[in-house]
Amino acid sequence: MAQVTENAAPQKAASQSSFKKLAKRLLRSKTGMLGLIIVVFVTLMAIFAPLLAQHDPAQTNVVDRLLPPFWSEGGNTEFLLGTDNLGRDILSRIIYGSRISLMIGISAVLLAGAIGMVLGLIAGYYGKVLDFIIMRTVDSLLAIPNILFMLIILAVFGPSLLTLILVLGGTTWVVYARMVRSETLSIKERDYVRSAKAIGAKDFRIITKYILPNVLSSFIVIATLNVATTIILEASLSFLGLGIQPPDVSWGLMLSDGRQYIATSWWVATFPGIAITITVLGVIFLGDWLRDVLDPKIKE
């Protein structure tokens, strides 16, 4: 019983001081700090988009089409980063585009994480037939490229915001399932789980009280890093015309406009790409730092 309190209780008691410790460690890590700053910045940009954007991102304006950024000849400060082929302000579109990137990145990861967590816990805890079925499905999904499944599903259902989230979440859960299962397998053999079982704790209680909290740190690390991957996947699908549809704004969609006008207007494709790269970089830095702090076990 000593084991039970030792492992379950300290989490709450220590949370206040460990938060301070965490903040101190974050200040010491240059890339971690940079990652946090970028992520906070992009999040604020997404939340306050209507206040920050000078123009309506969907407002077309034939007179001002393909204007260069303000520092180039022919550009003006009304459109700081220039305009696209329909005369829409690129800066405003980048600001609004952060909403789609973050929303899809986070909700698809939450969906995938939830599916993977539940299936991983079931496979690891109960084993046997359930484990076999779940893990064979995982193996099959891992055997072929994610994007292939996504394309088939999008071909059948047609692209929309909801389909996109479901497709991204529904195909990337395997990573979590695998990790959660293997951690569950080792945790369930530990003494405090055994003693909980011995005093008659129900499966549900054991899973949620003793196993889940111990899987959580690895889970958070993987989920954070997967936000980065998901943002890139969304941009790729939107670039291919299979993701976000106009008049919604997505960085990937902006890049596909930019590709068409690359010969005459470099700025249309350049800035959205920079936005994606910086955002993803921020998420990766944050995730790497979290990994170092929360879970020294996981290697690259």
Partner: protein, 304 residues
């Protein structure tokens, strides 16, 4: 050989699962006929196709018919090109292979020396530079790099053609685009597997014998690092295939990826199914080969 037979057998359930998913997606959701005909088809055309395809049969029987058609290579006709879907897909394969192989060569040329050097000079400025570059390569969307290369080397300095397939010149930009993306991942993996080997006992023994650092790295460490490197290479096939889909679209490269993306956009399901199936077989086979090479290079590995 026994192991190879077993591995081949293991791929069958994977392939079956893929066919089942595709079958269910295409047949069960909505009206399959509307996916097979262009949107302009008349009601009469739809009805006669429904009859001819046997969509009134029970699902299990339909799946069986579907499977036996697949085995005979009959995926149906593309409504856009009015030809057999499989032939269409196979015609595009050489272009995709060309791009994939060129990209892999570039990825290996970049990642093997850089990965090894950054492991050997761990924590040096050089190492920091390489690992930083690898992270940047991961954060940068591949297709954006492609567009930027077009901007720099086709538009500003007209060195390479903007798009299409032709001589070697056409191949350079798409291959760099796809190759560097894979190189970023491979460099990281090679670095960490090299680091692992450099920390092992036999390296310490070699050092304590007084062997020079060059001999240790080249003869002892690199040889052993080759095993994971080869495996890493083969396992990148999945990334490579995913990458061709987008890279081919950026550069209007007439390969399988471009065909698949176009077909998804116009819902040419016969082609989508044929392409998916061919790609899946290709990826599964290369994973299998990776497994076999791994086993061959490191006889200590036992599978059961």
């Amino acid at each position: 050989m026994k192991y190879m037979g077993q591995s081949l057998l293991k791929t069958i359930p994977v392939l079956l699962l893929i066919t089942l998913i595709v079958f269910l997606l295409v047949r069960v959701t909505g009206d399959p006929v509307s996916l097979m005909l262009p949107e302009t088809a008349t009601e009469q055309e739809r009805e006669s196709l429904r009859e001819a395809m046997g969509f009134n049969e029970p699902l299990a029987i339909q799946y069986f018919t579907y499977l036996s058609d697949l085995v005979r290579g009959d995926f149906g006709d593309s409504f856009r090109y009015n030809t057999d879907a499989l032939t269409l897909v196979l015609d595009r394969l050489p272009a995709t292979f060309e791009l994939a192989i060129a990209s892999m060569i570039i990825a290996v040329i970049i990642s093997v020396p850089l990965g090894i050097l950054s492991a050997v000079k761990r924590n040096s400025f050089f190492d920091l530079f390489i690992t930083g570059g690898a992270v940047l390569g991961k954060a940068m969307p591949n297709f954006w790099l492609g567009i930027m290369l077009i901007l720099l080397l086709s538009v500003t300095f007209q060195v390479f053609p903007v798009s299409g397939r032709g001589g070697l010149g056409h191949l350079v930009l798409p291959a760099i685009t796809l190759g560097t993306g894979i190189a970023a991942e491979m460099t990281r993996l090679i670095r960490s597997s090299m680091l692992e080997i450099l920390g092992q006992d036999f390296i310490r023994t070699a050092r304590s014998k007084g062997l020079g650092e060059a001999i240790i790295v080249n003869k002892h460490a690199f040889r052993n690092a080759l095993i994971p490197v080869v495996t890493i290479m083969a396992l990148q096939t999945s990334t490579l295939v995913g990458g061709t889909l987008i890279t081919e679209t950026v550069f209007a490269w007439p390969g399988l990826g471009q065909l698949l993306v176009q077909s998804v956009n116009i819902r040419d399901m016969a082609v989508v199914q044929a392409a998916t199936f061919i790609i899946a077989i290709f990826v599964i086979l290369s994973n299998l080969i990776a497994d076999l090479i791994y086993r061959f290079l490191d006889p200590r590995i036992k599978y059961d």
